[in-house]
């Protein structure tokens, strides 16, 4: 890519030139540097400090050491359930999202008429406000809503009150989230499928690979880098889930659908315990980094890169 010759780099006057370029570079970067310092570096540092203090929104702050972290794990009644709920959500959401997205990407093959329009349809909820999507589902899931209404009038079967039933609320949060989010992964997989080298597929076909065997032995291994990317990103978004449970169930019934981010929001901005919220946010951060790092280490076992 670089067309400057090595000899050109070593020409006399280069150090003066590079000093000039350094100054210019600083000029070009200063907005980004200042912004990143003010709105990322400072908050990160502040957040570490806050997590070590009792930090009420109003009133005296006092140093707590690791007290907030200890309180989260030993005393707070909602923290362990929030961890559990985030884990349950991720364990249901990630595989379901990936399977649905991959199936649709495979189904929308080049011979499907109007595949472009279908792709747009499946992608629309990804880009529309999540609040609007959640409110639509909240209406559908009401006891007199469309789902139960159809079931009663067609089959005479009363469905559970999905959003108020402890066994169903999380399932419905997951279903709604898959509906709204999987279009993104579908497009990732579509893009990867379009880049599969035709000769390899053709060679496999000549060797007699067909149907599910073609899928398992040829297509999926070749898609594995895209599947890996999608899995990493989807795990991260699963751990960041907030709007869907907050709007559909409010975290309830009880705290059965309250995920970690809503716990952080509640602690910080409902109960005004900003120190506790900051500590919980760091635990979320460690979880995200840890799971991502684990996936990168484990990818050798199943991701096949071309080179």
């Amino acid at each position: 890519m670089t067309t400057t010759s090595p000899a050109g780099l070593r020409r006399p006057g280069r150090s003066r030139l590079s000093r000039v370029e350094s100054r210019q570079a600083l000029g070009f970067m200063s907005p980004a540097l200042v912004g990143l310092a003010l709105f990322t570096v400072v908050p990160v540092g502040l957040s570490i400090v806050m997590s070590l203090f009792h930090w009420p929104a109003f009133g005296e702050r006092s140093f707590a050491g690791l007290g907030n972290y200890v309180e989260l794990f030993t005393a707070n009644p909602d923290f362990w359930p929030a961890l559990r709920n985030s884990a349950v959500f991720a364990l249901l959401y990630v595989p379901l999202n990936l399977v649905v997205a991959l199936s649709l990407a495979l189904a929308l093959g080049p011979r499907i008429r109007g595949r472009g329009a279908f792709r747009v349809l499946f992608f629309i909820p990804v880009v529309t406000p999540i609040v609007a999507n959640a409110l639509v589902w909240k209406m559908l899931l009401q006891p007199q809503g469309l789902f139960n209404g159809l079931s009663v009038s067609l089959f005479g079967v009363e469905l559970p009150n999905f959003l108020a039933d402890e066994r169903w609320a999380m399932v419905m949060v997951v279903v709604m989230s898959v509906w709204q989010g999987m279009g993104y992964n579908m497009l990732i997989f579509s893009a990867a499928l379009e880049q599969l080298p035709a000769p390899v597929i053709e060679a496999a076909r000549i060797d007699g690979a067909q149907g599910s065997r073609m899928l398992r032995s040829v297509v999926l291994p070749m898609l594995s880098p895209a599947i890996f990317f999608a899995t990493v990103m989807t795990v991260i978004t699963a751990l960041q889930v907030f709007a869907q449970p907050q709007l559909l169930t409010g975290g309830g019934p009880g705290n059965s659908t309250l995920p970690l981010v809503q716990f952080i929001y509640n602690q910080g901005f409902k109960f005004q315990q900003l120190g506790l919220a900051a500590a919980a946010a760091w635990i979320l951060f460690v979880l995200i980094i840890g799971l991502t790092a684990f996936q990168f280490r484990a990818q050798k076992r199943w991701v096949h890169y071309e080179h």
Partner: protein
């Protein structure tokens, strides 16, 4: 040959069925937005109510400061996008095309900040906003999350693919670095700028958690996502208006996606990021 035909026909049936099931919530929401409020939960459910009330879409604007929500959402999303574009293209140029000491180290530090999720930043960001006196202002909706390193990364990657002879030629012609950036490099990067602009606009348009925290006076600074919840109040929920408002809020980004559908797959491959 005929089994192949049958298989293809079955594939079409399956895809159409999946699409119909998938579209059902949106279609039903649209028709609910046209019903009288007391028919939303009619038993048995009906797609079309006793009358078609287009007036619901007008009533939304009379119910609370909905016009302000829309104006604020557009204002914040457009301003935020412009900030992101300005910051990302200039920094991307410094990282991608200028040579300076420590460039690669600083770039890695930039990328490290990408690992910090918004959820970790919102709690301290609220305190920072208090320091600035920015709580419940437009600035607080626009700036705090406009400096993410993602845009810089995207632009840097793109700028590196542009031949370096162009810079040399511009230098020989006596153009300074800003002129080179503005007149030569940036015009060659319009496709990457467009991808960044579209994704940034959609992220601002749909943003929920941060406005929920920083906006106090909904009438003045409320955006559409947080405003949508205001249709449920003490006197029950105006589901008809809430659905109409939700549909309205979906229109701009839906139009963008439909207009750009030819570039959708390539854009995703370029940006590799979603609306969040």
């Amino acid at each position: 040959m005929s089994t192949d035909r049958i298989r293809l026909a079955l594939a079409h049936v399956g895809v159409v069925a999946a699409a119909a099931l998938f579209a059902l919530p949106l279609v039903y929401a649209f028709f609910s937005a046209l019903k009288p409020n007391n028919e939303i939960f009619a038993m048995p459910p009906r797609l079309v109510g006793s009358e078609i009330r287009w007036s619901n879409f007008a009533d939304v604007f009379a119910y609370g400061p909905f016009t302000a929500y829309i104006a604020n959402s557009f204002g914040v999303a457009i301003a935020g996008t412009l900030v992101v574009l300005a910051v990302s293209t200039t920094a991307g140029y410094a990282f991608g095309r200028l040579r300076w000491k420590g460039r690669d180290v600083v770039f890695v530090l930039f990328l490290v900040t990408l690992m910090v999720p918004q959820e970790v930043l919102v709690v301290p960001m609220f305190i920072v906003m208090q320091w600035f006196g920015w709580v419940d202002t437009y600035q607080s909706l626009i700036f705090p999350f406009a400096f993410t390193a993602f845009g810089t990364f995207l632009m840097r990657q793109f700028f590196r693919g542009i031949p370096y002879e162009l810079d040399e030629a511009a230098r020989v012609d006596g153009a300074g670095p800003f002129r080179t950036f503005w007149r030569i490099i940036l015009p060659l990067a319009t496709s990457a700028v467009a991808v960044l602009a579209v994704f940034t606009f959609m992220a601002f348009w749909n943003s929920y958690l941060w406005p929920l925290i920083t906006v106090v006076d909904y009438d003045a600074h409320g955006t559409l996502p947080i405003g949508l919840a205001t249709f449920s109040g003490q006197n029950g929920t105006r589901w008809d208006l809430q659905m109409a408002a939700s549909i309205i809020s979906m229109i701009p980004t839906t139009i963008i996606v439909i207009a750009l559908q030819k570039h959708l797959v390539k854009g995703i491959a370029t940006a590799g990021l979603g609306g969040r």
